[in-house]
């Protein structure tokens, strides 16, 4: 299992600023779908037994009903658990040095991408749709200078706050990189540049 403090390529000075997942309403929507799949057959079964009580004493229909219901509800429960796994294992981690995008695609596909904050060129947030506006979730697009040019945070809560956080962290990281790259700059010039940046 991943510990919160054992990220890939974790450096000693690096701090985790934020761990972002999709908004909880997305998970609730998926669970609601699963709940419908559980309740609907129960209702149909109850109606069937109400009109045909002889099914309970039938030597063939009763075991077939029970076995079918067992298989169905076990698979539906597994389906619900997979929905949770798909929600829970997709996450974005914002640290003091980089952003990490971890995405689980299906059963046997997992993609992890990371980008240094000082390479971020542009950050934009979007909120579209009635439910997204009501529950305040949306997307954040991070344009970078790296191989993966665009990071996308999907359906995350408070995208405006995340955007502001990334922009601030990117600015701090760029200042640090500038100082590292230009150690010969005298203290006065460095402070002037700090103010302008």
């Amino acid at each position: 299992m991943l510990s919160a403090y054992r990220l890939p390529n974790f450096s000693p000075n690096e701090k985790i600023i934020k761990i972002v997942r999709r908004d909880l309403i997305i998970l609730l929507g998926r669970l609601l779908y699963g709940a419908v799949l559980i309740v609907l057959p129960l209702v149909l079964l109850a109606l069937g037994l109400f009109y045909n009580p002889a099914w309970l004493s039938s030597p063939l229909i009763y075991p077939v009903l029970v076995l079918s219901a067992s298989v169905y509800f076990l698979f539906i429960w597994l389906f619900i658990f997979f929905q949770f796994i798909d929600y829970y294992l997709d996450l974005w981690i914002i640290t003091s040095e980089r952003i990490i995008d971890i995405q689980q695609y299906g059963f046997f596909s997992r993609v992890i991408a990371e980008q240094r904050l000082y390479r971020i060129q542009d950050v934009a947030s979007e909120t579209h749709g009635f439910w997204a506006t009501i529950f305040r979730y949306g997307e954040v697009y991070v344009q970078t200078a790296g191989e993966k040019q665009r990071f996308t945070f999907y359906q995350i809560p408070n995208p405006d706050d995340i955007r502001n956080t990334i922009i601030q962290l990117a600015e701090i990281s760029k200042k640090k990189q500038y100082k590292i790259a230009n150690p010969a700059v005298n203290a006065n010039l460095a402070s002037v540049l700090d103010q302008n940046l």
Binding site: M1, L2, P63, V66, L67, L78, L89
Partner: protein, 83 residues
């Protein structure tokens, strides 16, 4: 034509094998990639508890069934004079 009722258990067992393989995949993902926190452990615990409950009630409901009984299927109707 007649079949024994326990043939249904073979079909059930085959489906359960497929299901069990998928459960192992799901648990592997959670143990390998999940964060070491309360949410992960609680989700796994809840998942297993419900499975155990479903298995238990399946057993309770099927316990009185006589699986050695023979069931006639596709039997010729005796009341029809044409047959």
């Amino acid at each position: 034509m007649s079949i024994f009722l326990y043939y249904l258990l073979f079909v059930y067992g085959a489906l359960m094998l497929v299901w069990f393989a998928l459960v192992l995949v799901a648990l592997y993902h959670m143990f390998h990639y999940g964060y070491k926190n309360f949410t992960t452990f609680f989700a796994i615990f809840l998942f297993l508890i419900v499975i155990l409950a479903l298995a238990y009630y399946t057993y309770i409901l099927l316990a009185p069934v006589d699986w050695t009984a023979e069931i006639k299927i596709f039997s010729r109707p005796t009341s029809n004079p044409m047959f």
